[in-house]
């Protein structure tokens, strides 16, 4: 049977039962819509989590001293010897040291703040790191005289813009705007206790932003932390953590194994959190996607019933086709063709509906919810493969729905229906 003839007769068949056609098409569209909408939401929120809320560099391994020591040889410390040992591990490209400033600190700000008046006192947590960890493009991140060079996490700025600035009536700020901003810092003082007699008032100067900077405080040069710890009589020799950069992500498991053999631990709290939240998103997405699959299954049954009824009502027509030379394959192609048109059109409609629903949901969030940290432009991600899955699902539902009607049409006895 020629393609043109097949299309002509398929179109003819579809026109014969427009109500059934519309119902079948709507069923497929609803199933595909539901599946795509929820999967796209899961992909979008998962990406938001991984790239903006809790970005994790797959090549980095954060090594920390063991929290519990049971051996006879005392606590394993992260000193320079250990750092050298870690840096020499196979698959490690670089090792970056981290040292907490082990004295309390506060910032008391009272003055102009980007066109507003700000009076604020906060506890400050500070950590010193090797400059290499923060990446390129940050200049002036060296210990010296004058204001302390400070690097902040972009996530901290996002939280400020998304909630703090809004609640306090302060302006939203950008990284560029904050570059060079100075604020007072006083080491040796605390609002909650723990401060000593000696106090070192100084100031911090923002020199850049890095995803590797600490989220809940300020990141300063390693030598600054070492100097401050020494000045206050604190441990200035051992490190609070060492970040290893693997040559590639596939080397990470072996590196983690070797680190543990050295009696050290790997801080996986953030990675675990990402995994846990990611799993929760995946679970919710799966449950909601199942709903879409269920609707598609029902759509398939609907196609089977509708197409079955249509085939029964057109028994004479199929008998005529037999009489003028149609073989089983031709009749199968006709019924399958009708089902595929329904599946393809329903799939396409489902894809379009899902995209429109996603646009609507994003617009509703923008219109009805106040801005919040890490708010993305869209909560949905529609990769090409997802569109193809939607179309495939529509076609799959149609093919399954066509199985019984095809058997029915092939079994019809033309001699009986034509008499």
């Amino acid at each position: 049977m020629r393609a043109g003839s097949l299309l002509r007769l398929v179109a003819l068949g579809l026109r014969r039962d427009l109500r059934g056609l519309v119902l079948s098409l709507a069923g497929v569209a609803a199933g595909v819509w539901a599946l795509l909408f929820f999967v796209a939401a899961g992909l979008g929120t998962g990406e938001l989590l991984r790239t903006r809320i809790l970005p994790v560099d797959a090549t980095l391994v954060e090594v920390v001293p063991p929290s519990v020591t049971l051996g006879l040889f005392g606590r394993v410390e992260l000193d320079d010897r250990k750092v050298a040992e870690l840096a020499a591990l196979e698959g490690v490209r670089a090792a970056y040291r981290k040292m907490r400033v082990r004295v309390p600190a506060v910032s008391r700000y009272d003055g102009a703040f980007f066109g507003h008046r700000l009076r604020l006192g906060v506890e400050i947590v500070a950590e010193g790191v090797d400059a290499g960890l923060l990446g390129e493009g940050i200049e002036g991140f060296v210990d010296g005289e004058g204001a302390l060079p400070v690097v902040l996490s972009p996530r901290l700025l996002e939280i400020y813009n998304g909630s703090f600035a809004r609640s306090r009536g302060l302006p939203r700020l950008s990284e560029k705007l904050l570059h060079g901003f100075e604020f007072p810092v006083e080491f040796g003082r605390s609002f909650v206790g723990g401060g000593g007699a000696e106090r070192v008032p100084t100031s911090g100067r923002i020199v850049g932003f890095s995803p590797q900077a600490m989220l809940e405080g300020i990141t300063v040069p390693l030598e600054t932390a070492r100097r401050l710890n020494a000045r206050f009589g604190q441990d200035a020799q051992t490190y609070s953590a060492v970040v290893l950069r693997a040559e590639d992500p596939s080397r990470v498991p072996a590196i983690v194994e070797r680190v543990r053999q050295l009696g050290l631990e790997v801080d996986e709290s953030e990675r675990k959190l990402v995994r846990r939240v990611g799993a929760a998103i995946a679970l919710a997405t799966s449950m909601l996607s199942l709903l879409g699959l269920l609707v598609c299954a029902l759509a398939s049954v609907n196609i089977a019933l509708s197409l079955g009824a249509s085939v029964r009502s057109r028994a004479v027509e199929f008998g005529i086709f037999r009489a003028v030379g149609a073989c089983d394959r031709d009749l199968r192609a006709l019924v399958l063709g009708e089902a595929l048109v329904v599946g393809l059109a329903g799939g396409l409609a489902g894809v379009v509906l899902a995209r429109l629903a996603a646009l609507g949901a994003d617009a509703a969030v923008g219109a009805w919810l106040p801005p919040f940290p890490f708010q993305p432009e869209t909560f949905f991600r529609f990769p090409l493969w997802l569109h193809l899955v939607g179309l495939g699902l529509g076609l799959g539902a149609a093919v399954l729905g066509a199985v019984a009607p095809i058997r029915q049409v092939v079994r019809q006895d033309p001699a009986r229906v034509l008499t």
């Binding site: 049977m1 007769l9 086709f321």
Partner: protein, 226 residues
Amino acid sequence: MIRVEGLERSHRTEDGVLRVLRGVSFSVAEGELVALSGPSGAGKSTLLYVLGGLDRGYGGTVEVFGRDLRRMSEAELAAYRNREVGFVFQASHLVPGLSALENVLLPAYFGGAPPARKRALELLERVGLADRAAHPPSRLSGGEKQRVALARALYLAPRLLLADEPTGALDPDNARRIIGLLRDLCRETRTTAVVASHEPEIWVAADRHLRLEEGRVRELSVGEVA
């Protein structure tokens, strides 16, 4: 060219098995127009469907154009119906939704060659319906529908035309017209035809007259009324 030997066909009914054809034997030569008569339920339609390859549940031997229909595969039988057989039914059985022209072209939809509109239009003209080519069946009268059905049956120039009560649903004028067309077209194209009919005009127009009764066939002289 048609050889039927000991043809048996039974149907299951609520009352049991009904033997419709009971050892029917006859032959038809190429180019012959054979009239087939008999009371209702005698098995005329069944015989035509067997000859046309639409009914395979029979016993005995049916050879058409030297080929045993029983030995043909499903695809071969479909090709046989498409290229070598033309059917005309009592109810014209046109496909609703297709125009008269498309109905004539229908056999081409299931064949290998592209639809030949010129040939279809010629046939419509031959049956006097050239001006109705674009009309759907719903806008044609009973006689016009049957003429379209005849054009469809002859579209691929079949070697065998099988007509089952082609005038059964028509008024006398239209019936006469169809019979005339059928006879003339078959004569012109030397198409072999087996026409089941109650119409004495067909019996007279035919080369031979076969009568089916109680599942058996007997030959009557042309023009003889059983």
